[in-house]
Subunit: 460 residues, 2 copies
Amino acid sequence: MTDPRLAALAARLPDLRLLTDPADLEHYGRDWTRRWPPAPLAVALPGNLDEVQGIVRWANEHRVAVVPSGGRTGLSGGAVAAHGELVLSLERMNRALGFDPVDRTLRVQAGMPLQAVQEAARAHGLVYPVDFAARGSCSIGGNIATNAGGIRVIRYGNTREWIAGLTVVAGNGEVLELNRGLVKNSSGYDLRQLMIGSEGTLGVVVEALLKLAEPPPPSQVMLLALPDMDALMRVFALFRARLALQAFEFFTDAALRHVLAHGAQRALEGEHPYYVVAEFDAAGEAAQQAALEAFEEGVNRGWIADGAIAQSEAQAAALWRLREGITESLAPHRPYKNDVSVRIGAVPAFLHAMQALLAREYPQFEVVWFGHIGDGNLHINVLKPEALADADFIAQCEHVTRLLAATLREHGGSISAEHGIGLVKKPYLEGTRSAAEIALMRGVRQVFDPNGILNPGKLF
Amino acid sequence: MTDPRLAALAARLPDLRLLTDPADLEHYGRDWTRRWPPAPLAVALPGNLDEVQGIVRWANEHRVAVVPSGGRTGLSGGAVAAHGELVLSLERMNRALGFDPVDRTLRVQAGMPLQAVQEAARAHGLVYPVDFAARGSCSIGGNIATNAGGIRVIRYGNTREWIAGLTVVAGNGEVLELNRGLVKNSSGYDLRQLMIGSEGTLGVVVEALLKLAEPPPPSQVMLLALPDMDALMRVFALFRARLALQAFEFFTDAALRHVLAHGAQRALEGEHPYYVVAEFDAAGEAAQQAALEAFEEGVNRGWIADGAIAQSEAQAAALWRLREGITESLAPHRPYKNDVSVRIGAVPAFLHAMQALLAREYPQFEVVWFGHIGDGNLHINVLKPEALADADFIAQCEHVTRLLAATLREHGGSISAEHGIGLVKKPYLEGTRSAAEIALMRGVRQVFDPNGILNPGKLF
């Protein structure tokens, strides 16, 4: 530890765990993007709020860039440390700190994995309803930093809706206790909401007070095969009108091929271009009957080609695996990922424009898409041909993303629905946010982090 | 119109409706606080977004303070113009602009009254669920500016949850289209959320895209009489565990006396210190049975002294009037109002501390309190004795508010749950928000409104 800045940090915080081993720098310096070679200065693993504040104050004094770091499952490079930054990992701060049965809140440290949060909530007879496939690896602090969405947004909204309070070390080194669990608090700007989705550029989330919900009623899971793209939103409208949807997720035949090749079980015979996994409340016979009737109406109208309904929890899990296993099944192909959204009402027009664009621009690549169609959110994965060099592949994909960003702008959409901007989407931010908005965001960032030490180069 | 600044405004926007008649200045220069003598420079009634932008740009060029103005039903002076400001009233921009059945959103102009919004939603078979007694007079833009709460927060949350997009003219004169109806949009700071609750200090809300909800199931309304204060939160916990609550509102015997004297109908015999109006889902017999059982359990445990359940819509309205009529019944007494909140779990301890404080400090005044107890939100109304001069009365109340703010700080509460800070709560803001938070808020305000033309002197 010959770097004098690190020596100063160690002297200031003698109990702070600091890593400088090359394997640790590699491990903590990258996220799931794998695009930037990690090169942090060191990795700090604080154990408490005081240490986090000490690090941020030290960083301000020594003008060292800090990368806040959770589970590093991010897909836009928001937690990458490739330029001598200090990685501030919340990994050791991973505990639940207290449950309040009257408030129905759970206080957690930011490094707690989402799945552990969900389990802690269930232990109290309630649920933390934000959910997605990376639940075992991602941290709640990272979820907050990107306002994570996932597969239950249609029922429960994004992470933003579930934060009753935040303890934050702002970029200027001040500790902020934001909102403190109040249901009603009209006392000036809601800095809690400003912090959510700010990708570690305004402050480091150290603790969160999470709202919990009543467990949903018993549900059923259905797999639907659809004959064409236009059927997607028609079936969505039909099901939403008749059922209390908890999830409505779609994927293509290409996605299904990959997930089946990766070990998932086939649930329907025949070939169909589009599939939907729908989950909905099915507490009584009336709800189950309504589901069957909706299904039959979809079939009669020619919008549904085939379907299967899970008869057990194991079957429900098997149907869900067809959707949730996609990302993992694609990982060996080093996919280039887009994560885009439009208004729900704009989905049909956008789908057509997007499909035409992808078919025209990507004849050489396999493109797999899937997503949270009931939220207007599509994930587009372009698979890298083995023979193609990384840089060439990414360059070709970036060209198409530029066109996609223009299409999104025409349809009023967003270049990042739930992954965040980070490094990956930064070149396209101005397709989604106006110059006036970006100027205001820059000003806000300057207020919170006057020395620019938090995640510099990320977001904008 | 001899003021050269107004002449410049009229020349810039020849179609702009401008009022300078003394009666108009008086009418548009004050809100429901009635504490500050209105003294605006003039009143502008723009008819479209361009005119709003033109006014804000003119104000920046001529350094004229602008007070954004909705229904002026505010209770903290946020819309008061007492120092030569231009009142920018959205009153003429009061129309619904479009409904999207797939997105389930309603686009409205900011000057639309809340009740008209609710009616427009119902005309499309949906509901805009934020609701409170001022619905006929307040505007949706004002609701957004204070993140209005009201009587359905327990089920539906505050205004914040129902805003899918905002069209804003920022203090710097830029038009911002914030979020544009996207369900998922992780593309930098959520300036929409920052704008909500900012009391016209960051920008002027011109249009809003509102989320609408499915109509709630049929409900029942119950009036409960409670023997003591400790029973309040016990009955709340009991009812919340057994029923799907839509509202849980409490008031004291003093409040009941006023509302009965004001023409409401008595629903229960006998004298009781506390009352609750509860509304809950009652779609089938099971739900109605559950309500009766919860009631009986409360009686058996000694938490409920008496009760009545509405047997018709007219009876339900009569029970609601006992709660909703309170504010109007107190108005002739020129009440000094506190609007405070704590975490739900902190309500019992805070209620005891608050009651002791009020009994000790206000022996000379009648104090009436009521509120949204299931959200931790209490309204305290101190009635002015007729003989006492306004200034003396307010001075005595301010003294107690200072003590109340200290009690709130001890209990982690807020000096403003839903009314906003405005002018009235400004002296107490630092009991609720830390110096570090206020410094950040000042910085943010400076970014949005560098010349300080929007609602100067309000909030901080």
